[in-house]
């Protein structure tokens, strides 16, 4: 190729399509943040841009990691993250308040964010170690449940329902792909389906009302439903082509709460309309599909499971956030990766992508050697 002659080899071998896609999404996010701030790079767009660029560099750097290296640090990373989660919990206990952060001087670490890729890697590593014949045995199930359950419980009591759901879904996805028996997944679903109505029937009026509002926020339009109602107004009023850049009244007049964080999609959809929304969804789909391809063409079981799990992490991020914003799911506080303002979601997603890129490079390198 001509390009390979001009561009140095290590650069040419980067997965440029993915990098362009991700940068495109992030750039679009920056434009939305610029508008959300009333046409200003401050306070969000500039900061977000720097954070994104930093993590992109890290992710690209990560792509040179060998699979064996990743494997070797999987359990230590998991263990450290778990310790940090416990540490946060203790700190919160001492400080008499909910806490999700570890203050390490210049940076604040949110261990629950690390847990998303960490749980995926740990479970992938675990099922690689489990012999194929043992997969359906109890021995292959309870350690996985423990690996998943302990951090999930710790995150739930923080309390951070959104992250907890994310971690559980990521872990369950890996377990599902690892080939655990069907009933293991069907049974809890069936149990909830049966138990929920009975529990609901036994509840007091006010408890029921809380559940009602949680499931159908619009029944309380001035309270919990306010976010959703305003978000739907923003998306719905955008129409096909949107109101135009910098012309979203819902976000600019602050009717839309959290228009730069969790509800950034509504801010975007108001100005860019259905077209912008579908474009963004397609871009995310392409990223996820790229990750799933990595999983499909992976040679090792670890790479298969890890790549699928990491792609699923991105998928759950995007889909839970969008369902929440469009009023299809309760508001649980999951940001839209790369678009919502905030470093932690960018970090998590870029870590996932860095690992995915490393796994992908491994495939190419290996194939070349053969």
């Amino acid at each position: 190729m001509i390009t390979s002659a001009i561009i140095p080899r290590p650069l040419a071998r980067l997965p440029w399509r993915l990098i362009f896609l991700v940068s495109g999404i992030a750039l679009f996010g920056l434009i939305v943040l610029y508008s959300a701030a009333g046409g200003s790079v401050r306070p969000w767009a500039l900061k977000q841009g720097i954070v994104f660029f930093g993590f992109l560099t890290i992710a690209v750097g990560m792509s040179w990691m060998k699979e064996s290296t990743i494997k070797s640090i999987t359990f230590p990373v998991y263990a450290v993250t778990l310790v940090m989660l416990i540490g946060v919990e203790l700190l919160g206990f001492v400080g008499k308040g909910a806490q999700r952060w570890l203050d390490l001087g210049p940076i604040r670490l949110q261990p629950s964010e690390f847990m998303k890729p960490a749980i995926v890697l740990a479970l992938a590593r675990f099922y690689e170690l489990v012999p194929a014949g043992e997969t359906r045995k109890w021995r292959a199930i309870w350690p996985a449940l423990a690996l998943l359950g302990v951090p999930a419980a710790l995150i739930l009591v923080q309390p951070d329902l959104g992250t907890c759901i994310m971690v559980v879904l990521c872990g369950v996805t890996v377990m599902f792909l690892a080939g655990l028996p069907w009933w293991l997944f069907a049974a809890p679903v069936g149990l909830v389906a049966v138990a929920a109505p009975i529990a609901y029937g036994m509840m007091h009026g006010y408890q029921r009302k809380r559940i009602d509002v949680f499931l159908d926020p619009e029944s309380d339009p001035l309270g919990a439903g306010y976010h959703i109602a305003q978000s739907k107004i923003a998306i719905g009023s955008g129409g096909i082509w949107g109101k135009g850049f910098l012309h979203g009244s819902q976000s600019h007049l602050q009717y839309l709460p959290e228009g730069h964080t969790d509800f950034v999609f509504a801010t975007m959809a108001e100005e860019w309309g259905l077209v912008g929304g579908v474009l963004l969804i397609c871009a995310f789909a392409a990223v996820i599909r790229w990750g799933m391809r990595v999983s499909q063409s992976a040679r090792t079981r670890f790479a298969q499971l890890a790549a699928a799990g990491l792609s699923a992490t991105i998928f759950f991020y995007v889909s839970i956030n969008l369902m929440m914003v469009m009023g299809l799911a309760p508001v649980v506080g999951v940001p839209l990766p790369l678009v919502s303002f905030g470093g932690s979601a960018v970090m998590t997603v870029m870590l996932c992508l860095g690992l995915l890129m490393a796994l992908e490079r491994q495939q190419r390198t290996v194939s070349r050697v053969i």
Partner: protein
């Protein structure tokens, strides 16, 4: 190994299958999201666009400017004056700041006001502003304006307040304006306009009855407001439409002159243009200052007004009822003539007349009286005697025809129209037969006869013009052709001649001839006994004196104007009421002369009306009261 290999292959098949399932689920979720977004943004776009617009755009009603009220010559009698006001928006007040104290200092508010503001702040909800001060001087407005950045929630605005240049002189004619109360707000189906600070509605008089014309159409300032209530930008406003200017038939000059001419007396005067029925003056004195009412009256001033025995809060023109006294006599004479009484018929007045077992005493021994001299000299004996030989029912009919007991079609909120008794009425009301003394009392305007000053003026207007005039107040209402009175013109001439003699020959009001060459005034005095007023004993002798009345038209030969006037407890009609009518009538023909006559009088009373009012308020304030 073999077993192992099979399971590994098996595992890989499971993985591929489950990957497909996962991929399928992801595609399904993606499809769901796109579908949902399409549903929101396309199918329901219209609904959400409406919701978004109603979020974005708020309409702040802009109160219309109240229409002016002008007199027949276009002189303004109720206008709008630029005024400054300060309001508080409860939502925008910062929690810890003590804006109220700061404002109290800047605006020199008293404790009552501060307490009211604090109370209203506690009670208020949302964006509804709380009024801090109204009609403040420019210096205070400026003082607040420069400090606005440090006073969150404070709004200093300039608007308009109602101003009546003539003050008390037009008080009872126009009424006043004020802030709508809860009942009025409910009655208008919670019209948001009514709760805008500084918006006033008519509360009394013409201001109230002409409200639909004067109010105008509120405009709207369409604004973009953030969810937190911050104004972002103003959109194209919906312009307000000022209220209509209403032209009255009143002559502002005469109105003011008559009010001043009454001095400190309590009374009412109505002047009518007999060519049209236009009311030229509608004066009830003393009166409150409608300006202080439209600004929100102080407690002191209110208590001064409500304890005054001259009842300045009562609209005496429309609601004061008085015995007509002898001013009824011209109408009586006309009734007698119609019933065939010979005007030359003589009755000898020996100082009284025996009716049944009661002797009615006349004011004097008049001697032999015919109709002309009986009117001229106001001889009661003649009317007692003649009343006894005529039919009271027919007599009352004629008096009613000339205006007594009538309610006129005027835009005045309340009219009390009094009583003109008749045998039928007596039977119905008191279940007794009409007696001779009833005829006697009625024929001199006593007994059950009660009239208001409007009727007092309509009677000479009808007598003077010979037409069935209806009084009018609004210049632009269509003029209907006025029918002639259904009376014999010769009879009318007899009565008019007699009334001319009252003022110009040997009558009771010769002291009140017009000081004009070639213009004679015809009139009739009245002195009405005050019944039962003795019960108001603490008010002293003034309250026991007779009411003085006078009716007149001029010029006597070709009537142009008619005036009816009553001075409460003024004593003799000739001495208290007739001079006021004379001067008012003079004003209509020669302003300079009338004003020249007024100047020495006002000097004697101690200044103009405004000066005396101010002094009175000051004196009242300086008297220590228990509330202080």
């Amino acid at each position: 190994m073999k077993h192992m290999r099979i399971t590994t292959a098996h595992q890989s098949i499971t993985f591929s299958r489950r990957m497909m399932l996962l991929g399928g689920a992801q595609v399904a979720v993606g499809g769901l999201l796109v579908g949902r977004m399409g549903w929101l943004a396309v199918a329901q776009n219209e609904k959400y666009q409406l919701l978004s617009e109603s979020n974005r755009v708020q309409l702040i009603p802009v109160p219309p400017r109240r229409g002016w009220i002008i007199d027949r010559n276009g002189k303004p009698i109720a206008i709008n004056k630029a005024s400054f006001r300060v309001d508080l928006i409860p939502q925008q007040i910062e929690k810890d700041s003590d804006v109220v104290s700061e404002l109290a200092r800047l605006l020199a508010l008293d404790e009552d006001a501060v307490e009211r503001i604090r109370r209203e702040l506690l009670e208020s909800r949302g964006f509804r502003p709380v009024s801090v001060a109204d009609n403040i001087p420019y210096e205070q407005y400026a003082a607040v304006t420069v400090r606005l950045p440090d006073l969150p929630g404070v709004q200093a605005t300039r608007g308009y307040s109602r101003y009546y240049p003539d003050g008390p002189a037009v008080a009872h004619l126009l009424g006043y304006v004020g802030t709508a109360n809860a009942k009025e707000y409910e009655a208008e189906k919670k019209n948001p306009l009514l709760i805008i600070p500084g918006f006033k509605i008519g509360k009394q008089g013409l201001e109230k009855s002409l409200e639909p014309y004067l109010r105008g159409e509120p405009g709207g300032q369409r604004v973009e407001i953030t969810a937190r209530g911050k104004l972002v930008k103003e959109l194209d406003p919906k312009p307000d439409r000022s209220g209509q200017t209403v032209q009255l038939t009143i002559d502002q000059g005469l109105q003011q002159f008559a009010a001043r001419r009454m001095g400190d007396q309590s009374g009412a005067l109505v002047a009518i243009d007999v060519t049209s029925g236009d009311m030229l003056a509608f004066v009830s004195m003393p009166a409150f200052d409608p300006n202080s009412f439209s600004e929100g009256i102080g407690r002191t001033e209110w208590s001064m007004l409500s304890t005054n025995d001259h009842i300045p809060l009562l609209n005496k023109v429309a609601q004061g009822l008085y015995p007509s006294g002898s001013t009824i006599k011209p109408a009586m004479a006309l009734a007698f003539l119609k019933q065939g009484v010979d005007p030359k018929r003589r009755v000898v007045c020996n100082g009284g007349w025996q009716i049944g077992n009661r002797y009615f005493r006349c004011d004097a021994v008049h001697g032999s009286m015919d109709m002309h001299s009986a009117i001229e000299r106001s001889c009661n004996t003649y009317f007692w005697a003649t009343g006894l030989i005529t039919d009271p029912e027919q007599t009352t009919e004629m008096v009613n025809y000339l205006g007594y007991g009538q309610e006129f079609d005027l835009p005045i909120p309340t009219q009390r129209y009094g009583t003109m008794p008749s045998p039928q009425w007596l039977e119905k009301k008191y279940h007794r037969k009409w007696q001779g003394y009833d005829s006697a009392n009625t024929s001199i305007g006593q007994g059950y006869v009660l009239i208001n000053p409007l009727q007092l003026a309509v009677m000479p207007a009808r007598l003077g013009s010979g037409k069935l005039l209806q009084p009018r107040l609004l210049m632009n209402t269509p003029r209907k052709p006025v029918p002639l009175l259904d009376v014999n013109p010769e009879h009318l001439a007899i009565v008019r001649n007699a009334m001319t003699s009252v003022v110009n020959d040997h009558g009771t009001a010769v002291a009140s001839k017009l000081p004009l060459d070639g213009i004679l005034m015809a009139g009739k005095t009245g002195t009405a006994q005050v019944f039962r007023l003795g019960e108001r004993g603490h008010q002293g002798n003034w309250a026991l004196r007779d009411h003085a009345l006078f009716i007149a038209f001029a010029p006597a030969d070709q009537p142009r104007y008619a005036i009816g006037c009553i001075i409460e407890h003024g004593g003799f009609g000739a001495s208290a009421a007739a001079p006021i009518v004379r001067d008012s009538m003079t004003y209509l023909f020669d302003k300079q002369k009338a004003l020249a006559a007024l100047a020495p009088l006002e000097e004697q009373w101690g200044g103009t009306l405004a000066e005396r009012n101010a002094r009175q308020l000051q004196a009242f304030k300086s008297v220590p009261r228990t509330t202080a």
